[in-house]
Amino acid sequence: MALKLIEGLLRAPGGFMTVAGASIIVFFTAVALAAPFIAPYPPDVNPPGVGVLEPPSLKNPFGTNELGYDVFSRVVWGARVVLQVVVLSSIISLLVGVPLGLVSGYYGGPIDRLLSMVMDSLYAFPGIILAIAVASVLGPSVINAAIALMVIYVPTYYRMTRARVLELKSEPFIEALQAMGTPDRLILARHILPNVAPTILVVFGLAGADAILTEAGLSFFGLVTVYPTPDWGLDLYYGKNYLLNGAWWLVFFPGAAILTLALGFALLGEGLSERFKVRGE
């Protein structure tokens, strides 16, 4: 059953990218959930017999940091924070942006114009700057970081949904439904929403990739967690001070994790956009 699904996905256009991207995301999610079983050490303890700033070895595959914490364990535990922030912010953005886009695009009028103007302005602005401003007022925490990211991605979901609704609205089958007197909420729920769904999936992938990088940026500036909670961006920030000592592993491994997870979301988004012939932005 699952195999059949994967086979079907692979055959569709962009199928390889979709499956590769989804696999990466599933892999990191599994790692995050099973962190206590996968990580050989606690992320914020210097285990006995483990030195500081040790290069990668069999015992510490990603080396150790300046406090003797195992970098591999920190990267494994760090997946939890990133995924929590990104999944949380994606879900909130979707729940806010999609209904607004549906209603705004379907009914039009002055509220649509006002909303569009606000969302377009936010969309045109460098997202990370806005997120930094918001996160700095709210203070570092997973929830606050998710809220900060929401300010960036609500406009993305809103704009893509609205654009798709405008396209659908002019299609004959919607016009026919309206002519038959079908209530608007039925048209929206039964006929427009299912047709908007592929677009939303694509945005989930593409905006997700962006969200991973923005989360890492916020974390890099200390706006998501406080040391010693393991988080990739923050670990990278502290690790950079030891590059001069030649401790490249403190930067390399957390960064490689960011790249891989972001790539997972980007591939999923790309693959799905090819599959559903949706243009990303």
């Binding site: 103007m117 606000v118 377009d120 302005s121 936010l122 045109a124 602005f125 460098p126 997202g127 990370i128 700057i129 806005l130 930094i132 401003a133 918001v134 700095s136 007022v137 709210l138 300010v151 990739a209 991973i212 990088l213 890492a216 940026g217 890099f220 500036f221 200390g222 706006l223 961006g233 990278l236 920030y237 950079k240 590059l243 001069l244 030649g246 490249w248 930067v251 390399f252 957390p254 960064g255 490689a256 960011i258 790249l259 972001a262 790539l263 980007a266 591939l267 790309e270 932005e281």
Partner: protein, 335 residues
């Protein structure tokens, strides 16, 4: 519509964009719970009279709607208020001090990204096949690189390991440079200072490469798609059928693919500024991005608010300029 009128109409559209962003920032900074003055001054005990005094000096004791409009009037005068942390420092002049560094980095990074984008995308469009697929993968990976990671890895290889390039800063502090415009490359030329020019260039390479590579992914993709489309388009076939040289056909196809590419440049500018913040922090680049991050750490909210509003103005102006360029390239837009 004449081009001039188009410019005027398009310029007027800057106002709502800036207004919306200012309002959002104002709400975030002032309306959300929390006392910025207390937060900025830290945990020590401060007598209530002193707090009151600071509040009234900064106008924070007035009703919110008055604060909103007073600050707005200030923006029009080029006054972004006073620093909450550094007494008596004007936010506007701090920003103006730092801005040239950011613009220099952004322009260099943009140049690098466009160059890489045209080379990779052009190769993909011209060669097709395996090259095309490789470039497509490059486009996706470049986009998903985390700027500090790429920057630090380049730093580790080229400055720490190989010792070829400096690891941070804008210029070697031992090289004296008289500042005129704040753009070091320009200043070193104006003042006839070749040492400063070389030193600036050396310092610029890694940051602009970092920023440029990450931003190039989008260009690779768009050049690849639109150039190959234009090269295969009917009008290119018509040009060939009239016996034009392939080089001439290429130039006309390029011009046609430029329309979406210029649009992208406008969208990219926002990403460029966002990327500049991370790049500046990675390379200790004394620009507006590191200014913003510094002041976030100090909880200097007036400075943060000023910087965000300033970025909003810059982004809107650039998007206006891009639209005007767009109208110049494509005759279908205006008439």
């Amino acid at each position: 519509m004449s081009l001039l009128r188009y410019v005027a109409v398009r310029s007027a559209l800057i106002i709502p964009t800036v207004l919306v962003l200012y309002t959002v920032v104002f709400i975030v900074m002032r309306v959300l719970p929390g006392d910025p003055v207390r937060a900025a001054l830290g945990v020590h005990y401060i007598p209530p009279e002193e707090l009151e005094e600071i509040r009234s000096r900064l106008g924070l004791d007035e009703p919110l709607y008055i604060q909103y409009f007073e600050y707005l009037a200030g923006i029009l005068r080029g006054d972004l208020g006073e620093s909450l942390v550094f007494e008596g420092r004007s936010v506007w002049s701090d920003i103006i001090d730092r801005f040239p560094a950011t613009l220099e980095l952004a322009l260099a990074g943009s140049l690098v990204s466009i160059a890489i984008g045209f080379i990779t995308g052009g190769l993909a469009a011209l060669k097709g096949g395996i090259v095309d697929r490789l470039m497509r993968v490059y486009g996706i990976i470049a986009y998903t690189l985390f700027i500090p990671w790429l920057g630090l890895m380049l730093q580790y290889i080229f400055s720490i390991r190989l010792g070829l390039l400096p690891s941070g800063g804008r210029i070697d502090p031992r090289v004296g440079l008289e500042e005129v415009t704040g753009f070091y490359l320009v200043d070193s030329i104006i003042t006839g200072n070749p040492h400063a020019f070389v030193s600036t260039l050396e310092h610029l390479i890694l940051p602009s490469l970092t920023l440029g590579i990450v931003l190039s992914g989008a260009y690779t993709r768009i050049v690849r798609v639109h150039l190959s489309e234009a090269l295969r388009s009917e009008f290119s076939i018509a040009y060939r059928a009239r016996g034009l040289r392939e080089s001439a056909v290429f130039i006309h196809a390029l011009r046609n693919s430029l329309v979406p590419i210029v649009t992208l440049m406008g969208l990219q500018f926002a990403l460029l500024l966002g990327g500049a913040i991370l790049t500046e922090t990675t390379f200790s680049w004394p620009g507006l991005g590191s200014f913003l991050v510094e002041r976030v750490m100090y909880r200097d909210y007036t400075a943060v608010q000023g910087a965000v509003v300033f970025f909003a103005v810059i982004v809107s102006v650039v998007s206006m300029v891009v639209d005007v360029i767009y109208a110049i390239i494509d005759p279908r837009i205006r008439y």
